[in-house]
């Protein structure tokens, strides 16, 4: 008799249960990643097996929300990969400057650090007043934190260094005020950011934009889902629009490879062909 590995089967049943009950779809995520997150939660919460956890997910909404947080990765930084932001400044900003109005979609913004980084960069380049940044994520808790714009001052040293390496023109401390153990980002940075709940897996096109940033999100998706999301991006970009991915992400293995030219291959910045 041929049979499937039990824990594989239990994980796929659990993901099916989460999708059918709550509408969050992790069924096409990278399996090794999902397995690791689920087994970690199982050990932390003291379940004997995944089936036991499935019953809890179905019958206990607070537990389900907790598991959802486990499956949503919110690790991010301001000016993460400074060389990328330098390239944005040098190669993308001149293109954006040619448009009277600019729309930017930051897909999978988590707690917002990179959306604030973008606002700072645009302010320095004199473009922020004619820009709208749509910063979206499916994780509402993360979005709420992003909206607040309050970050731990433990991280500021690293962010400052990132900012300087990225070609920042001001003193980084002019963009926030310190408050006990935290820093609060300037109100002026928030004014053109629209924070919205959007799920790349289940939601559709909502705007036509000049630039999409989606960095270190697609690595969590399998090939099929990557293709679906690439189709969403392709249909959201204007002709000549820019797509920026994470430093280890590629469009080479997706159906859309032919539809973009490379603006900066190393920094994974692509331009949609006319």
């Amino acid at each position: 008799m041929q049979y499937k590995d039990t824990s594989d089967l239990e994980i796929s049943l659990l993901l099916e249960a989460i999708y059918r009950k709550y509408g969050y779809d992790f069924r096409e995520y990278s399996q090794a990643h999902i397995r690791r997150r689920i087994l970690n939660r199982m050990a932390l919460s003291g379940f004997e097996d995944i089936a036991q956890m499935q019953s809890m997910v179905l019958n206990n909404v607070p537990f389900a929300s907790e598991l959802l947080q486990d499956l949503s990765i919110t690790v991010t930084e301001m000016f993460r990969d400074p060389a990328f932001y330098r390239s944005l400044r040098e190669k993308v900003i001149p293109i954006l400057k040619t448009y009277p109005f600019i729309k930017i979609w930051h897909a999978g913004c988590a707690t917002g650090e990179e959306a604030y980084s973008m606002a700072i960069l645009l302010q320095e380049e004199g473009l922020y007043d004619r820009t709208t940044i749509y910063a979206t994520d499916f994780n509402q808790l993360a979005l709420n934190r992003a909206k607040e714009g309050i970050f731990s001052n433990k991280l500021i040293k690293e962010y400052t260094s990132n900012y300087q390496l990225s070609g920042g023109k001001e003193s980084f401390s002019s963009y926030y005020t310190s408050h006990y153990d935290n820093v609060i980002m300037n109100q002026s940075l928030k004014k053109n950011i629209v924070w919205a709940n959007h799920n790349l897996v289940t939601d559709s096109v909502f705007a036509e934009v000049n630039l999409i940033l989606c960095r270190n999100v697609l690595i969590y998706f399998d090939q099929n889902l990557q293709n679906k999301v690439q189709s969403l991006f392709y249909n959201s970009l204007i002709n000549g629009g820019i797509l920026s991915l994470g430093s280890k992400e590629s469009i080479r293995f997706t159906d859309y490879f032919e539809h973009y030219s490379e603006l900066d291959l190393k920094q994974r910045i692509f331009k949609k062909k006319y």
Binding site: D8, S30, Q31, A32, H33, R35, R36, R37, I73, V75, N216, I219, Y220, Q223, K248, E249, S250, F253
Partner: protein
């Protein structure tokens, strides 16, 4: 017994250790090797080029979704965890650090153990933390072959010691002895 992959975890002292093992491998050595070496987040991969000059096998950074091929040595990219899927492709994640490390040896080893079960060889080399201990244990539980560098011969003994305190490995030896042992195992399978 046909081994299909070798995973190696190495931390401080790793550059020398890898140089010794990789340069000892003959060009026909076919079992792919997958390495987590702890490095700074902004390391530029220049050292991979340097190692390549010393090795007869191709050494490259592991890419997201890349298929694992015979006769190749893959290195986890800095600042990403490297995982192996059951279809023998790579996944990368930026999840929280594990044992203060990203990439983490435990993360690679645990996913490799699930993907390759008893067709995996796991190796813990020199290092100054205890990353890899949980992972090598998992490899043993899944029936894989375990190798640990003799702490007496390690530039930094802490990591191999921690691994030895968790399991009784199939082989303990110096870097040269480990290289020799791997070559012997690979020949047996032909």
């Amino acid at each position: 017994m046909q081994y299909e992959a070798i995973v190696i975890g190495v931390s401080s002292g790793g550059m020398n250790a890898m140089k010794i093992i990789f340069s000892a491998m003959p060009a026909h050595f076919s079992i792919p090797m997958i390495i987590v070496q702890h490095l700074g987040a902004h390391s530029d991969g220049q050292w991979i080029t340097l190692l390549n000059d010393k090795s007869q096998l191709e050494i490259k950074e592991a890419d997201e979704k890349e298929k694992i091929e015979k006769g190749t040595i893959y290195i986890a990219p800095p600042n990403y965890h490297l995982l192996i899927e059951k279809d023998k492709t790579f996944s990368l994640t930026i999840d929280e650090r594990v044992n203060y490390s990203r990439p983490s040896i435990d993360v690679l080893f645990e996913s490799a153990a699930e993907a390759y079960r008893n067709k995996l060889i796991g190796i813990v080399l020199t290092g100054a933390n205890n990353d890899g201990t949980k992972g090598i244990k998992r490899i043993q539980e899944c029936g894989g072959l375990t190798i640990i560098q003799d702490p007496k011969t390690a530039e930094s003994a802490y990591m191999p010691k921690a691994a030895i305190s968790a399991i009784e490995p199939n082989f303990i030896g110096s870097l040269d002895e480990i290289a020799e042992f791997l070559i012997k195992i690979e020949q047996q399978k032909r």
